[in-house]
C-alpha cells in the first residue's frame, strides 16, 4: 500500500502494540514457570507442566506448573508461617508494602497489559486503559485501608490464611481484587490463577519479590480445577474467595460448609440493560458496546439482556445493528481492535451452541458483515432479538459477545423482566429522567446499578451480587469487611447444649386443671395452628411441664415464608416508621416485663436478677434496633469521575432466623430486632428448648402495629426446620445459632440458591454482651450493599 492508496481508502491499517518486552520476559524464563511459594520459585511436586496458549494465534506462550495437593499444602504452610508476623505488622508497615506493589505495577504497566492481552486475547486497549490502571488503583486504595486499619478497623481481626481462586476473564484485575484487601487486612494468601491465564499472576509474584514482601505472604500456585479443589478443600485456610461460575461457586459453598471458612463468591450474571423511551439512544448504543462487547462479552457483569421500551425498541435495534457493523475484530495487540479473541475454543463452542439454541427457541439472529480473522479463536458480535424470557439466551449466562433483546411496556414490567432471573449481579438503567432512574434502581435485585452508564468500576465502590450471583463484596469498606472478623469472635467458646430432663406433670387430685394454652404458630399477622395438628411439650429446666407449642413442619415453613414474602413492602416503610414500631414493641414489652421475667425464672431457672437483666436488655435491644433504623445509612462514594456512587444499604429480603437456646428471649430479640429494623421480613424459629418466650411475644407483636408478615414465628425442632428453610428458594438469607453439625447443614443446603448465611459453627455468642448482641455485625448481616453509579452533568 502507498500513502496515495491510503489517502483514497482512509482505512485504519494495522497498529500493533510492541510485545518485545513481554516476549523477552517469557524467553528469560525459558517459557516455563514454577509455583511461587514461600518467596521461592518451586518446582511442582508432580513434575508436571501444562501448556498455555495465545488464543489469538494458537501459539504456545509458556508451560505452567500443575499444582498438586502437596504444592498446595506447602503454600498453605508457608502462608500460615507468615500469617502471624504479617498480621502483627502495623497498618502503616503493611501500607508501605502495598504501596511498593502499586508503584511497581505502574512502572511495569505496559508490559503487564501486553502480557495480559497475549495470554487472554483481550484487546490491548482494554488491558492498557482499563485492567491495569484499575489494578494499580485497587492497590492504592488498599494502601489506604492498611494505613487506616489500626484506627478505623481496630475492632476487627484478620482471618488468617486466605485461599483465592480467580478466573481468566480479568486475570490480573481479579488478582488485585483478591490480594489487595486480603493483605491490607493482615491476611496471607494462597492464590491460584485460572489455567488459561496464569502469566500476569506469575509476573505479579515477581513484583512481590521486587517489593520485598515478606516470604509466604503471597503464594501463587498454578494449575487447573483440581488444584483449585485442593485449595477449596484445604483445612488450613480461614477464608475462600472465588470468582467464577455459579456452578463452581455452589460446589465451593457445599465443600466448605461447616468449615468456618469465610466465603466470598463472585459468580455469574445475566445482567439487565434497561432502556426507557426517554434515553439518549445513541449513548445507549455505546453503552451496549461497553456492556456486551467489552472483553468479548466475557464479563460476569456484562449487560447481556437488553430490555427496551417497546416504542423505541426497533429504532434502537437499528442503531445497534449499524454500530455493530463498525466493530473491528482481530489481533488483540492491535490498538484499533474492539473485539479480541475468545479465551479458548472450548468457550467459543459453548457460545456458539447457546446462540444456536437461542435461535431454535425463537430468537432472531443478527451478526454484522465484518471481517472475522480466519486464524485464532474469534466469535462475531451477535444480537438476538425477540428473546422472550423463556428463551435459553434470556436465562443462561453466555459469557460471550452475545446480546439478547426483548421489550417492555411500563416501568413496572421493565423491573419485573429485569428481575426475572436467578442472578443479581449488575444492571444498567438508561433514562434522562432522574426520578425514574431512582425509582427503578432500588427495585432491581443487583449489587451494582449503573445509571446511564455501564461497566464502571472503582476500588472504593463495592462490587458483588445478589441472589445466585454470589455473596460478599469486593472493594470499599464492605470489601474489607470480607477479610476481617469481629475481634470478639476468636474468643467464642463452644455452646453447652441444654439438657431436657424427663417431663413431669402436676400431681392428680389437686387444684382444678389450669386452662391449657398451646401456643400456635404466628405468621401473616395471625396465630395459626400447625398444619399437622400436633404439638410439642415444653418442660422447664427441672422437667416440670411448662406448656405446649405447635409442632411446626415444612408446610408451616412454606406458609410462613409466603407470608414473609408478601410483606416485602416493609422495606419501603419509612425508617421513622420502622423505628416507631420497634419502640412500640419495647414499650409493650416493658409493660409486661414482670410476666417475661417470671417465665424466664420458672422456665430456665434463671435467678431473679438474671431474668430481670435479660428482659431489660431485650427492651434495650429493641431500642437499639430502632435507633439504628434511621442511622445505618448508606454512603456516597466519589470515584474518579463527575458523578457519585450511592452505596445504599438494602435489606437482604426474607430472612430465616433460627434462635439460640441460651438467653431464649434476649437471643430471639437480639436477632429479630435488627433484621426488622433493616427492612427484612423474617421467619423465626425460636429457641427449641424454650420457645415459650417467643410465643409469649405474639401478643406484643399483635399490639405493636407490626404489619402482617414482617415477623413470622414457627416453633419446632431445628433439625427439621433448618433444612427446609435452607433449601427454600424464596428465602434470601439464613441465620443459625445452634450446633456445629446443623451449622454445616445450613451452609451446605444454602448453596442451591446461594443464600447469604450466618451460622455460629456451634459456638456461643454472649447475648448479654453489647458488642456481641447488638454490634454492627448484626446490621451487616441484615443488609446488602447496592452501589448505584450516578454520573451527572449537563453544562458544557
Amino acid at each position: 500500500m502507498s500513502v496515495l492508496e491510503d489517502f483514497e481508502s482512509m482505512d485504519y491499517g494495522p497498529a500493533p502494540e510492541n510485545s518485545t518486552k513481554a516476549m523477552e520476559w517469557l524467553a528469560a524464563h525459558d517459557k516455563k514457570f514454577n509455583h511461587f511459594i514461600d518467596g521461592d520459585w518451586v518446582t511442582p511436586s508432580g513434575k508436571s507442566w501444562f501448556a498455555s496458549y495465545n488464543p489469538a494465534s494458537g501459539d504456545l506462550l509458556a508451560e505452567i506448573a500443575q499444582g498438586s495437593k502437596k504444592d498446595v499444602d506447602e503454600a498453605v504452610q508457608a502462608a500460615t508461617r507468615a500469617a502471624k508476623d504479617w498480621a502483627g505488622l502495623s497498618g502503616h508497615a503493611r501500607a508501605r508494602y502495598l504501596y511498593a506493589i502499586a508503584r511497581l505495577i505502574q512502572k511495569h504497566a505496559r508490559m503487564l497489559a501486553v502480557l495480559e492481552s497475549l495470554d487472554n486475547g483481550k484487546p490491548i486497549r482494554e488491558s492498557r486503559d482499563i485492567d491495569v490502571p484499575l489494578v494499580a488503583r485497587h492497590f492504592y486504595h488498599h494502601v489506604g485501608w492498611a494505613q487506616l486499619a489500626d484506627t478505623q478497623l481496630k475492632d476487627f481481626a484478620p482471618l488468617g490464611v486466605v485461599g483465592q481462586v480467580i478466573p481468566w476473564n480479568f486475570p490480573l484485575l481479579m488478582l488485585a481484587w483478591k490480594v489487595a484487601p486480603a493483605l491490607a487486612a493482615g491476611n496471607t494468601v494462597v492464590l491460584k490463577p485460572a489455567e488459561y491465564t496464569s502469566l500476569t499472576a506469575l509476573r505479579f509474584a515477581e513484583i512481590c519479590e521486587e517489593a520485598g514482601l515478606p516470604k509466604g505472604v503471597v503464594n501463587i500456585v498454578t494449575g487447573d480445577g483440581e488444584t483449585g479443589a485442593e485449595i477449596v478443600n484445604h483445612d488450613g485456610l480461614q477464608k475462600l474467595a472465588f470468582t467464577g461460575s455459579t456452578d463452581v461457586g455452589r460446589i465451593i459453598r457445599r465443600a466448605s460448609a461447616g468449615s468456618g471458612k469465610k466465603l466470598t463468591l463472585e459468580l455469574g450474571g445475566k445482567s439487565p440493560f434497561l432502556v426507557f423511551d426517554d434515553a439518549d439512544l445513541d449513548s445507549v448504543v455505546e453503552g451496549l458496546v461497553d456492556a456486551i462487547w467489552f472483553n468479548q462479552g466475557q464479563v460476569c457483569c456484562a449487560g447481556s439482556r437488553l430490555i427496551a421500551q417497546e416504542g423505541i425498541a426497533e429504532r434502537l435495534y437499528e442503531k445497534i445493528r449499524a454500530r455493530m457493523g463498525k466493530l473491528r475484530l482481530g489481533d488483540p495487540l492491535d490498538k484499533g481492535i474492539d473485539i479480541g479473541a475468545i479465551v479458548d475454543p472450548v468457550q467459543r463452542d459453548q457460545i456458539d451452541a447457546l446462540v444456536k439454541a437461542g435461535v431454535e427457541d425463537g430468537a432472531t439472529l443478527f451478526q454484522p458483515d465484518i471481517p472475522v480473522p480466519s486464524q485464532g479463536c474469534y466469535y462475531p458480535p451477535t444480537l438476538l432479538t425477540e428473546v422472550e424470557s423463556s428463551n435459553i439466551c434470556a436465562r443462561e449466562e453466555i459469557f460471550g459477545p452475545v446480546l439478547s433483546a426483548t421489550t417492555f411496556r411500563t416501568l413496572k414490567e421493565g423491573v419485573e423482566l429485569a428481575n426475572n432471573t436467578r442472578y443479581g449481579l449488575a444492571a444498567s438503567i438508561w433514562t434522562e429522567t432522574l426520578s425514574k432512574a431512582m425509582e427503578v434502581a432500588p427495585q432491581i435485585k443487583a449489587g451494582v446499578i449503573w445509571v446511564n452508564s455501564t461497566n464502571l468500576f472503582d476500588a472504593a465502590a463495592g462490587f458483588g451480587g445478589y441472589r445466585e450471583s454470589g455473596v460478599g463484596r469486593e472493594g470499599g469498606h464492605e470489601g474489607m469487611m470480607e477479610y476481617l472478623k469481629p475481634a470478639f469472635e476468636k474468643d467464642l467458646k463452644d455452646i453447652t447444649p441444654l439438657e431436657t430432663p424427663p417431663a413431669h406433670f402436676v400431681e392428680p387430685g389437686g387444684d382444678l386443671p389450669t386452662i391449657d394454652r398451646t401456643a400456635k404458630l404466628y405468621y401473616g399477622g395471625k396465630q395459626a395452628r400447625a398444619d399437622n395438628d400436633s404439638s410439642l411439650t415444653v418442660v422447664s429446666h427441672n422437667g416440670a411441664y411448662a406448656g405446649a407449642v405447635a409442632y411446626g413442619q415444612y408446610k408451616d415453613i412454606r406458609n410462613a415464608v409466603e407470608a414473609a414474602a408478601k410483606a416485602a413492602s416493609w422495606r419501603n416503610a419509612t425508617h421513622h416508621n420502622k423505628a416507631q414500631i420497634l419502640f412500640y414493641m419495647a414499650e409493650n414489652l416493658s409493660i409486661r416485663a414482670h410476666e417475661f421475667e417470671d417465665r424466664l425464672k420458672s422456665l430456665t431457672g434463671a435467678t431473679a436478677a438474671k431474668a430481670k437483666k435479660e428482659v431489660a436488655l431485650s427492651i434495650e435491644r429493641l431500642f437499639n434496633a430502632a435507633a439504628w433504623a434511621d442511622k445505618y445509612d448508606g454512603q456516597i462514594h466519589t470515584p474518579p469521575m463527575r458523578g457519585v456512587v450511592a452505596a445504599m444499604k438494602e435489606p437482604v429480603g426474607t430472612l430465616a432466623i433460627l434462635c439460640p437456646d441460651d438467653a431464649p428471649l434476649l437471643g430471639f430479640i437480639s436477632l429479630m430486632a435488627p433484621a426488622m429494623a433493616m427492612g427484612n421480613t423474617s421467619v423465626i424459629v425460636p429457641s427449641e428448648r424454650y420457645p415459650l418466650l417467643a410465643t409469649d411475644f405474639y401478643q406484643i407483636i399483635e399490639t405493636s402495629d407490626v404489619p402482617a408478615g414482617v415477623i413470622n414465628i414457627v416453633t419446632g425442632p431445628h433439625k427439621d426446620l433448618a433444612p427446609v428453610l435452607a433449601k427454600h428458594d424464596n428465602v434470601d438469607g439464613i441465620w443459625y445459632h445452634g450446633s456445629q453439625p446443623l451449622s454445616r447443614e445450613v451452609e451446605e443446603l444454602s448453596a442451591d440458591n446461594i443464600k447469604r448465611t450466618w451460622v455460629n459453627y456451634g459456638r456461643a455468642y454472649d447475648w448479654f454482651d453489647p458488642e456481641q448482641g447488638s454490634g454492627k455485625h448484626l446490621l451487616r448481616h441484615a443488609t446488602e450493599v447496592k452501589n448505584i453509579w450516578l454520573p451527572y452533568g449537563d453544562q458544557i
Binding site: V3, E8, E432, P791, Q795
Partner: protein, 348 residues
C-alpha cells in the same frame, strides 16, 4: 468503485478540486455526489425526542481515539486528508490584503513539495479545503486563488456575535456572495436557542440560506454559548431543516471552542438528518484544533459516527489557522525521522 463506494486506487487522480458553486461538483472525484440541502418544513416533533446525556457522550469521546489508531503510511495519509479539509483562516482586525495573499499562497501549496514527493503524493495537488476571511478580504482572496478552485469562505451576519440588524446581516451575505465568496459562514442568534425559540431560529437560517443563493451555507451554532448538548443537538438539527450545507461548532471567538463532545453530538444529528431525509450535511469543527493528533481524532470521529463519506472536504472541514503548521512538522518527521521546526515550513 469498490463495494464501499471508494474509488479504486488505480484510477487517475485529479486534484482535490472544489467548485465554488455547486455542492455536487465539490465532491472529490469518486465520492458519491451530494444532494444539495434545501430548506424543508419546520418539524418541531423532531426536536422533542432529542436527549443527550453529557456524561455518556464524554465517555464515548474519551475512548474514541483510544479505540482507533493510525500509524505509519496511514498516519501520513490521514494528516494529508486533514490538510485537504482545512478552512485556512484569518479573522483578525489587522488583516491586510498582503496577509491574505500570503495565506492564499499557503492554501495553494500547504506542504513543501519535496515532502509530498517523498510520500509519492505530489499528484494529489494537495490544497486546503478553503480560505476563510472577513467580507472585506473576500475580493483579495478570490483574486489570489483564481484558477485554483479553492473556494473562499466569508464569515458573515455580524460575525462573531450575530447581533447586528437583521437586514444588515442579510445584506452582508449578499455582498460577500457578490464579491465571489463560495461559502458563507453565518452565526445564529444564540438567544433563539437559549430561550427555545426554535421556529425563530429556523426562519432566521432559512432567510440566510436564501440570501446565499448558490453559495454554501455553513451555520455556526456557537456551541460554547449554548449551555447544553441538548441545545447543541437541537440547534444543529434546526439549521439542517433550514437548509444548512454545513453545521459548524464555533466562531473561534467564544471562550469554549470545538471539542469532541459537541462534535459527536452534532455528528449524530447529521446522521439522524441523513437517515430521515437522505441529505448529507457537512460538519465543521472550528477553533482550538491545533495539533495533527487532534485533527486525526476528529477524522476518526467522522469515520466512526458518520462513515467514510464524511472524510472529504465537501462534507468535512476544520476551521483552523495553526493546525497546518503542526501537521507539516509531523509530516516531515515521518519522512526524515527528525523532529521538525516551524521555520522550515513556509508561513501561511
Amino acid at each position: 468503485m469498490d463495494k464501499n463506494g471508494r474509488k479504486l486506487p488505480n484510477q487517475p487522480k485529479k486534484s482535490l478540486m472544489h467548485d465554488v458553486q455547486i455542492a455536487n461538483e465539490n465532491a472529490r472525484s469518486g465520492a458519491e455526489p451530494l444532494t444539495h440541502n434545501r430548506p424543508r418544513a419546520f418539524e418541531p416533533d423532531w426536536l422533542t425526542d432529542i436527549r443527550v446525556n453529557l456524561s455518556a457522550v464524554e465517555r464515548r469521546c474519551a475512548t474514541m481515539n483510544t479505540r482507533r489508531s493510525v500509524k505509519k503510511d496511514q498516519q501520513v495519509a490521514w494528516m494529508l486528508k486533514a490538510i485537504s479539509c482545512i478552512d485556512l483562516t484569518t479573522l483578525a482586525g489587522d488583516d491586510t490584503p498582503g496577509r491574505v495573499r500570503r495565506l492564499c499562497a499557503k492554501a495553494k501549496n500547504p506542504v513543501r513539495t519535496e515532502l509530498l514527493k517523498g510520500f509519492g503524493v505530489e499528484g494529489l495537488h494537495l490544497t486546503t479545503g478553503a480560505v476563510c476571511v472577513y467580507h472585506t478580504m473576500v475580493e483579495t482572496a478570490v483574486a489570489a486563488l483564481e484558477g485554483t478552485g479553492i473556494p473562499v469562505a466569508a464569515v458573515s451576519t455580524g460575525f462573531p456575535a450575530g447581533l447586528s440588524p437583521f437586514d444588515v446581516r442579510l445584506a452582508e451575505i449578499r455582498a460577500s456572495v457578490a464579491a465571489g465568496a463560495g461559502e458563507i459562514d453565518i452565526v445564529i442568534t444564540r438567544a433563539h436557542v437559549l430561550n427555545g425559540h426554535w421556529e425563530a431560529l429556523y426562519e432566521e437560517v432559512v432567510a440566510f440560506k436564501e440570501a446565499c443563493g448558490q453559495a454554501h451555507l455553513k451555520t455556526i451554532i456557537a456551541t460554547g454559548e449554548l449551555g447544553s448538548l441538548t441545545n447543541v443537538a437541537k440547534a444543529a438539527l434546526v439549521c439542517m431543516m433550514a437548509g444548512a450545507d454545513f453545521v459548524k461548532t464555533s466562531t473561534g471567538m467564544e471562550s469554549k471552542n470545538a471539542n469532541l463532545p459537541v462534535s459527536l453530538t452534532m455528528a449524530r444529528m447529521i446522521r439522524e438528518f441523513d437517515e430521515r431525509t437522505g441529505i448529507k450535511v457537512g460538519f465543521k469543527p472550528a477553533g482550538g484544533i491545533r495539533t495533527a493528533k487532534e485533527a486525526v481524532g476528529y477524522l476518526v470521529l467522522m469515520k466512526e459516527e458518520l462513515g467514510r463519506r464524511w472524510l472529504e472536504p465537501d462534507l468535512f472541514r476544520f476551521g483552523a489557522s495553526g493546525l497546518l503548521g503542526d501537521i507539516e512538522r509531523q509530516l516531515e518527521y515521518h519522512l526524515t525521522g527528525r523532529y521538525s521546526a516551524a521555520n522550515r515550513h513556509p508561513m501561511g
